[in-house]
Subunit: 376 residues, 2 copies
């Protein structure tokens, strides 16, 4: 059997240690998946990801790859893993979220979403069937169902309509997934906005399909962080315990530590990579804005306790200089550092759950993190 | 003794094998020095340079580092080598060429050059004394004399005046260099444009100072390539055989192969790094424009015979996609490839001279290179 999720341990806090056997790799959970939007986790390559960072799964964006270079090109070249020279597993999103946030003009109806490319304005239609076909062409290990992710604050009536359509789209995705011969698995996505009863209702609907895994969608879309934590906790606890739970698009390091405690197994987010390129690096003490003039002559590494390639060789002063001068190597070193931070944090979280001391680990982390502002 | 140039072998073609003992590293010649403009060889880091590429010397740009982050900051942080985390040697240019090509408004007189920063428009004056002081603060192994490098096609009378001023500036550089305690060495620069008798005259003048090394300046400034080859041959042959000969700002791979045959020992150029970022990569067959649509589905590496990190793991199709999508990793992989190509070429050239078969090596290379257009 190609796919299997094994729940290894459950900590009293609710945190779970699992092992996800995917066609291309075995993934220890909780896991953070670096985001490789256009077939590249920005500023690092597949060697860095596998060797230096120890990643075993990355996320690819269906919307971007469909538009450029095109999923048929990638299929011809042996799939996204082969295209990227990546030995690990790949989860692809459905394209839905990106269409809503990036495409120029888009209109949604029962059939799917029509939109204009943000690259050249060309018109396209993505349907649930098309999304699954693209993800199959990309050769993903995990295919995400095509859903609508409404922004925070939409009216309940809109939310209800969107939710039901997402359920109908899921059934079309399942049918399309079953038609294609491949070892990929399909995850369903729970929506329901920030409305508890809708979340309950949609979780029940989606989980009624008995899929290999479930994602919590529709969070981290502009709401207060406390609200996101509440909703992710509620959603995670409603999901079946024998399937992986994936919280989409989350988040900052303290979000991950909290949500692991709610029983979430998988995360993805552009925060570590995007922040790095903007000069925001992470340490246990919080976010350190490396462009700040106070680091101009600081010979210390970003984090004295960090073993990443940036911290073992370079000073804050140097990385600040590179980012300020818009040097590619500055973007790369900051990205290596942030991803190393995220993946090491996940490794430590797994260790804490293994030893049934996750509550203590999380409290310790959140205390040192404080308000997330690294001041020294 | 910190400094020594040993001429190991001279090939019948005129090509020379040498060993340059610098305070920070031993450098085998002929050598190509990657250009690290702002304290970073763009898109690669010091680990890449030392380990993957085997570089032992890089060039730093005085003009850029003086403006940002400032030579005093770098001095406080232990010099440019320490700032960059670089274990090899560093040669810095004098800032003269950059002031003339990059600064916004500049005026030249006997004292030095006054200019406006290309970054913020601030006014600055660089004199021969200041240039040496900056380069000393950077902790360079090799300090270049402050000179004027006129563009191709200026009138002989201007060339003569500029040349004499460069000589007077050299004497001021020598005086400034002698005043500072350090292990750095000073190279003089021969100018004279494309006028053979002025070249002869200036070579005699500059070499009369008995310096640790000499550079051929004022070439590759817009003239035809054949003229550059002629002038570099003339200049190289006029220089003393017991000192290293450095041809500044040259060039394409076939320029290097030709000029090594004229007895040049050292080169620097932004071509491999700048071309890489623009999607122009090099193979033995010439320049390959990787953005070209013909490579969109090409599963082959850039060069099947190349052992660089780009060629051992990634296809033309993938690197083309990354460069087209303006992905940082595309710039980095293309840069690694081009520098690997240049440094491997130098390694092979050294091997050929060691075996006294450089003429044959150069003929073979130039025949395969042809007109430099890689077509397949």
């Amino acid at each position: 059997m190609d796919y299997c999720f094994e729940l290894l341990k459950e900590d009293p806090s609710g945190a779970r240690r699992g092992r996800l056997q995917l066609p291309s790799a075995t993934v220890e959970t909780p896991v953070f998946m670096p985001v490789g939007t256009s077939g590249s986790v920005k500023a690092v390559d597949s060697d860095d990801l596998w060797g230096t960072l120890g990643a075993r799964i990355v996320l690819g964006n269906t919307y971007h790859l469909y538009l450029r270079p095109g999923h048929e090109v990638i299929r011809e070249l042996g799939g996204l893993r082969h295209f990227m020279g990546w030995d690990g597993a790949i989860l692809t999103d459905s394209g839905g979220y990106q269409v809503f946030s990036l495409a120029k003009r888009r209109s949604i109806d029962e059939k799917g979403v029509e939109f204009s490319s943000h690259i050249d304005g060309s018109r396209h239609l993505i349907t649930p069937e098309k999304s699954v076909a693209i993800q199959k062409a990309l050769g993903s290990d995990v295919i995400m169902a095509f859903d609508e992710c409404p922004p925070a604050g939409v009216e309940t009536s809109y939310l209800e309509g969107s939710m039901s359509r997402t359920t109908r789209w899921l059934d079309r995705c399942i049918a399309a997934w079953n038609r294609h011969e491949s070892s990929s698995v399909l995850f369903g996505i729970v929506q329901g906005g920030h409305n508890e009863s809708l979340r309950r209702l949609h979780t029940e609907e989606i989980c009624g399909r008995d899929l290999p895994g479930y994602a919590i969608g529709g969070l981290s879309v502009g709401e207060a962080r406390e609200r996101m934590w509440e909703m992710s906790e509620l959603s995670a606890k409603l999901l079946p315990s024998d399937k992986p739970r994936y919280l989409m698009g989350v988040g900052f390091p303290d979000d991950l530590v909290r949500c692991i405690g709610h029983g979430v197994d998988m995360f993805d987010c552009v925060i570590p990579t995007r922040c790095a390129r903007n000069g925001l690096v992470f340490t246990r003490k919080g976010r350190l804005p490396i462009r700040n003039a106070r680091w101009a002559k600081d010979p210390r590494p970003i984090d004295e306790d960090c073993a990443c390639p940036a911290c073992t060789r370079y000073s804050r002063a140097y990385i600040r200089h590179l980012i300020s001068a818009d040097e590619i190597t500055g973007h790369r070193l900051a990205t290596l550092h942030n991803l190393y931070f995220y993946l090491t944090l996940m490794d430590e979280a797994r260790g804490a759950i293994d030893e049934m001391r996750y509550g203590e680990f999380a409290r310790g982390f959140l205390e040192t993190w404080g308000d997330g502002r690294h001041e020294t």
